[in-house]
Amino acid sequence: MLNILVVDDSLIMRRNIIKMIESLGHKVVGEAKDGQEAVEVYRKLKPDLVTMDITMPRMDGLGAVKELKKIDKNAKIIMVTSHGQEEMVIDAIRSGASGYLLKPVKINKLSDSIQKIFPSMIDQTVSEQKETTLLESEEILLPEIEDLA
């Protein structure tokens, strides 16, 4: 289970991402509405992962990523933004982001991004899907071995 900080100036986006994270079996330890607040909260909570919007008041997501990397060079950050421009993606990665998600966020894409950064993590959805598959699968019949003799 990961401790995650969610940063977005939009209430509905924070709410959606928090609910997705929780349904993936991780814990949201904090939220922030802009880059400056994100830096302050990060210092206090030291989360395992941050989801970071780009376009925000006071300090944007790119500025916040740079600041977080000064605090902790190993900080793991997924940019979550509506800005689909290639130059924006490149800027984000250069600033130190570990991943990039285009809004609207889908739970499977969020899960994939987390898995790429934390390969050893198996989220709740994945394990539940496996369990369901096992429960739903029909009885496995071993093929009869023909007597070739």
């Binding site: 939009s10 509905i12 986006m13 609910k19 509506s82 689909g84 421009q85």
Partner: protein, 162 residues
């Protein structure tokens, strides 16, 4: 490129992304009537979101929503069920986020592929019944109709010298 041409190109990109967003993501049938209207003034609906487009292009972007349509969009956009007590707060936030998303995706299709274009965080105003007058600015409007009411996209920019 003339300012009026820039307005039309920007609004064309926005309309294209809005159609995709409404049908693919929100599963709401939205019809654009195909007309880009040059306006002298616009009457804002109950919920209006403003986003500034800066950098290599300097425009204002306004999205106006009918109340029922915005409620449907809020419910469609929310992950999981929403409590009625949350609706009012989420509705305002959804108005801003939807406008932000449509514009963010459209930037790639702006003139010069949107290079150097920046967008400000959205600001949503409720009960904005004022008439927006312009002084030397051009307004171009595109209207979408849905089973739950209309939404209007407006871009506003300087057209002096044309």
């Amino acid at each position: 490129m003339k300012n009026s041409e820039i307005l039309k190109e920007v609004l064309t990109a926005i309309v294209y992304r809005a159609e995709l967003f409404m049908t693919d993501e929100m599963k709401i049938e939205a019809k654009f009537d195909g007309e880009f209207r040059s306006m002298e003034k616009i009457e804002l609906k109950k919920y209006t979101t403003t986003i500034g487009i800066g950098g290599s292009i300097n425009l204002l972007f306004y999205v106006s929503y009918n109340e029922l349509l915005l409620e449907k969009l809020t419910r469609a956009f929310s992950y999981g069920k929403i409590h009625e007590s949350e609706l009012a707060e989420l509705r305002e936030s959804a108005a801003g986020e939807i406008a932000n998303m449509i514009l963010g995706h459209a930037v790639n299709d702006f003139p010069n592929r949107g290079k150097g274009v920046t967008i400000t965080p959205p600001v949503t105003v409720e009960d904005a019944k004022s008439i927006l007058k312009t002084n030397g600015n051009g307004i171009m409007t595109a209207v979408f109709s849905t089973p739950y009411g209309n939404m209007e996209f407006n871009v506003i920019g300087l057209i002096k010298g044309e």
